[in-house]
Symmetry: C2
Subunit: 235 residues, 2 copies
């Protein structure tokens, strides 16, 4: 029997998707999981993720660098924000980072209890596909969305995983098919497909088009960031 | 400024979509809203909808016919089930029906407080589009899904409404775009597009392929069932 693949289109639907024993892929294309992938690829030692800002800030005392984003902007007093380019800095090699974002780290927090949590983004698409083909349990892709609502870019990436894993997994419900069909419709030009999405418009107002272009580029890195316990990501 | 159109892909996301002052279109293609459309088109006087079975059954004392479906099957002791063909019976003309289903009447119940609730299905697609073009407030399409999970057929119909109303409404978030793109991909052959959906498989096991074919047929009826108060549907 084939393993099953499922997609949770919003963290606010997580009560319908039990994670025990599952491999969960958390997706926040713009930009949390793209940043995490970039950071691990550039030699960051570990990333501890937090849903809440105060707990994240408290890690400074234990020697962590603090990364914080709310509503697309870097939180005042944090060392790092939510642009992947910040995480290419060679000064971050070997460092531990504490990270909280508007959506991505919330989705990670709600996936607690899974056998393992994988950080997925277009930047490490093929590496994640290769990794998931080899892992044994059933698979749940969790889209971070925007404050509980579904979004295009995370659904599109979920669809990319469903498409590339079609030979190894069968759909657990209709959400994988919705995501896959969306990816099939948009794969030729992701940026054009997403041009009217609400988050792209939001980020354009923040003047970070360079981030969007980068986050939509497939296979920049051959790393698979994994959380196995304590919400700490390692490569 | 254009009016806005939004799509709630699952009743379990309704906490994110305030309905006050809105026109809500409730969608449960397979098969609750298709049955309701058929019933009103064939002269049923009114349909009172219930999320819970005992409250629905209690209406028998007030002279209602009782329609009840759970998990795709007619509930024991009910007069009617959830097949549109049952609602073509001339004996139902002028009757009042109390109706409860697994998903559709739950979605109606969660839409309470809206300015008006419209019953949408492929069977009355053009009539609903025409009606919505003329109404003034912002619009929310609520997909009934399956026990909280999203489904293909309701999302597809939401996409049909978004597509046909594109000139009159602008998207409130990304969900309308997801639905619209899905409809654009599947509109040429709805049945083929839906052939792997979980609900189609579920209903095929119940041997009701005739229902599926009918529910996917556009513009059988020129009626717009509306709920304005007390969850009672009239034409």
């Amino acid at each position: 029997m084939k393993r099953t693949i499922d997609v949770c289109l919003s963290p606010d639907l997580m009560h319908l998707y039990p994670v025990e024993g599952m491999t969960v892929v958390v997706v926040d294309i713009l930009r949390a999981t793209s940043c995490m992938t970039t950071a691990i690829a550039h030699g960051v030692k570990s990333i501890k993720t937090f849903a809440k800002l105060p707990e994240c800030l408290a890690c400074r005392e234990s020697g962590y660098l603090i990364a914080g984003e709310r509503d697309g902007k870097k939180v005042d007093g944090c060392d790092l924000g939510n642009s992947p380019f910040e995480y290419m800095n060679p000064a971050l090699r070997g460092k531990d980072i504490a990270f909280t974002t508007t959506n991505g780290t919330q989705a990670i927090s709600r996936s607690a209890g899974a056998a393992q949590i994988i950080i997925g983004s277009f930047l490490n698409l093929s590496a994640v596909v290769k990794y998931l083909e080899k892992t044994t349990p059933n698979l749940l892709i969790v889209c971070s969305g925007w404050k509980g609502k579904v979004n295009l870019e995370d659904t599109l990436f979920a669809g990319a995983l469903v498409e590339h894993l079609a030979d190894s997994f069968e759909h657990a419900c209709d959400a994988p098919a919705i995501a896959q069909r969306l990816y099939q419709a948009g794969r030729r030009d992701l940026k054009d497909f997403l041009k009217d999405s609400s988050h792209i418009k939001r980020l354009k107002r923040l003047n970070i088009e360079k981030d969007i272009d980068f986050c939509l580029t497939a296979d920049q890195y051959d790393v698979v960031p994994v959380i196995r316990e304590n919400a700490t990501i390692t490569g």
